[in-house]
Amino acid sequence: MKLLIVDDSSVVRRAIERDLESGEIKEVDQAATGEEAVKLYAAKLHDVVTLDITMPGMDGLTCLDKIIGINPEARVLVISALRDKATAIDAIKRGASGFLCKPINPSELKEAFQLLIED
């Protein structure tokens, strides 16, 4: 299984990677920007993407549109500090498979990830 972690914070990217570390994940890529994420996703079609929203340059929701444009079946878990329902609903309508709020709760993250890969 290939995982792509997209967040402008390297601390958050590494925390997500550690939280999701398991035998199921064979390959992890990280991207600090939406632009980088789209390029990586187009090249590798990762099984799961975790995606921040507030990033410099291309924001996460635009990045989500592009990933879904590449693969409408992409499994994208949005992980954002934006804690309002409208943003979560917007992300789901655009094709996200799930939405988690920061600060990240490792148990919730693992649970959401399991649900995604079992889907």
Binding site: V11, T54, D84, K102, P103, N105
Partner: protein, 148 residues
């Protein structure tokens, strides 16, 4: 921005530090309106706010507190770059969480990080600028809420 709105940020601070699952709970002292002194510490994450509300939200802390937080995130060693990354991420999280109450018109920028040597941050002249003192594991930090 009034005293009741500040409770939204206090709840966010509590949520953030509780998420670290540390052995010590965070202590949040009563917020105060800023005086002439700017309580900026070694590292400051600044988030610009636009939309219905304008201004900035800043989280400022010393390196020691940030290193402690990184320890709870199993992150080591802590370089200056990592400390800057973390202080910006905390400011982002505390600002973004406030949208739970203020809604999606509370627009937040990406973080700008300043250190004590190069901070050009100034409180806005108008409006009430709140300072929320935070104590965690004997280290102090501040959340500055400067909104109109």
């Amino acid at each position: 921005m009034d005293d009741q709105d500040i409770q939204v940020f206090i709840a966010g601070v509590r949520r953030y530090f509780d998420s670290l699952r540390a052995d010590e709970r965070v202590v949040i002292e009563p917020p105060f309106i800023k005086d002439e002194e700017r309580p900026l510490l070694e590292y400051t994450g600044i988030i610009g706010i636009s939309g219905k509300t304008h201004g900035a939200v800043c989280f400022t802390a010393n390196g020691l507190m940030l290193k402690n937080i990184l320890g709870f995130l199993n992150e080591s060693p802590s370089s200056r770059e990592t400390l800057c990354d973390l202080v910006g991420e905390i400011a982002n999280t505390l600002s973004g969480n406030a949208r739970e109450e203020f809604g999606s018109d509370f627009l937040i920028s990406v973080p700008v990080v300043a250190t004590e040597d190069d901070s050009g941050f100034r409180f806005p002249e108008e409006g009430r600028n709140y300072v929320i003192p935070i104590i965690w594991r004997s280290e102090k930090a501040y959340l500055l809420v400067c909104l109109r």
